[in-house]
Point group: C3
Chain length 211, copies 3
């Protein structure tokens, strides 16, 4: 199986996981099915859309709508079977797949910006992070929730670290791009799994004092 | 009178209505005239602007600024004559015209995306909805209000249904595009009027449980 | 020293000041270092990014990343030395430099839109204001704070007035563009300094009644 196909499969699974966790994050607020569809789809494809807008290229889902359909399907499924997905064990699995998605989307985003020669070397890191967390930020803003940036979760930080390392590999070891992308994804995923598993958070010393 | 001219007239009236209802929605929070101008104009032209950004074409108001001027004028008028517009009878009329505007902007947005061949067939529906409700969402986010997506109003749903039907007509009955656009607009408008008139909302069975 | 170089220097100082005041505005909410970096950088370069997206040109920091680095550095500095910057005397100085930055960014933004022939004559005013306040709005939205538009601070109003006058000069006195830009910047800066110094706010007569 070629790398592209693996990416497509992980991308599809990740899109579904993003939509599911996206809907679950807001379901406790009493959202109607339309809101569920909009906010779930935005969680799943919003980050890539912002990335493409900043890159000045057509939104990725304008040519491959499969991701929109997958997200819509996942939203309906989550709406109907919410009580299934909120079971602690299942929910944790969704978080893991969501973490895999963040890893894939982050590295894919950095890769797309790098290939476009956008703002090297900082641009690919920024756009990788935007791809991975932009959709969740949009959802939280539209749903009136506190965004990820104000929580102290270890979510964006693993993505940022992974994208930084990936950009270093692209720059200094271009012949190891493929291996590098896999390693960086695994690193992001591993950190994210550890954060979920042991409820790791940003240490207090790195947090400003609340007044 | 040609169809284009009718669109222009409805567009102008709708822009004014969007600005007025946009300002009235936030006026009770104590907003200064500058905030009124910015938030009213964003309500009126924000949706079309987001649509054009996603489409990758220049913002519609960069070539025909009449809509910006109309919105600005309507904002000043609303600021000065707020007590007039908040009379229940007048306010209801504004909501009706606002509904007509949502119908027009939705179908126009879908049409623009379809003509650009953007992400067929899902793209035109998404961008139609974005055109109709994007400005209101932006206003609510900037004003710190709960957005439409978290209310259970029948606003975005009629627009979405209308855009779906319109896209089906564009696809399967392209020779009836004109008639189709009028029918879809009237359908959206009719549903919206009914929702305002009888205070219809999304039935509870379609709403997630608040925890 | 050429005008371009002066702009570059003021731009660099303003970027640093925007990042510092941007971080200080949210530091009291208990933000982690990652959030500080993201929100500070967004405050500093977000307005120009939105402007460039609406203009349809590549984000300004994709070619000159120095502004991103300066913002990142200023964020780290503010995180480490927060107690230094929150001293009333120092903080006021930061606000002054921030005001200088708003003046520069506003006029630069209007200038960029004018040169691109974007939506004359309204477009340059809108994009000037977007450049000056867009980053702060994004930060406030992402941090869950009340935005500038809902406060009654004299911040956006001086910028808007300055941009209006600058556009009038560009239109009617094109031979005085250089002098005009300096005068408009000084006017914005002067109004902003006066607003900080004497805590001037929008008079009550220009504010809608809170209900």
């Amino acid at each position: 199986m070629a790398m592209d196909q693996i990416h497509l499969w992980i991308g599809a699974i990740a899109t579904i996981a993003f939509a599911i966790t996206g809907v679950l994050a807001i379901a406790d607020r009493g959202v109607d099915l339309f809101g569920v569809l909009v906010l779930g789809v935005i969680t799943a494809i919003g980050g890539g859309t912002i990335r493409d807008i900043i890159l000045g290229v057509p939104a990725f889902w304008s040519s491959s709508q499969i991701f929109v359909w997958l997200a819509l399907g996942a939203c309906v499924l989550t709406f109907v079977a919410e009580s299934f997905f909120t079971q602690p064990q299942i929910y944790r699995w969704m978080l893991y797949i969501d973490g895999l998605g963040a890893a894939l989307f982050g590295i894919q985003g950095a890769d797309k910006a790098w290939s476009a020669g956008f703002g090297l070397p900082v641009g690919p890191v920024i756009l990788g992070v935007v791809t991975a967390i932009g959709g969740g930020l949009l959802r939280d803003i539209l749903a009136g929730r506190k965004t990820l940036l104000m929580s102290h979760e270890l979510y964006a930080i693993p993505v940022t670290l992974g994208c930084c390392i990936y950009v270093l590999i692209l720059n200094f070891l271009p012949e190891y791009t493929l291996e590098g992308s896999v390693i960086c994804m695994l690193a992001i995923f591993g950190l994210r799994v550890a954060a979920i598993r042991w409820d790791l958070r940003v240490p207090k010393v790195f947090i400003t004092k609340r007044r």
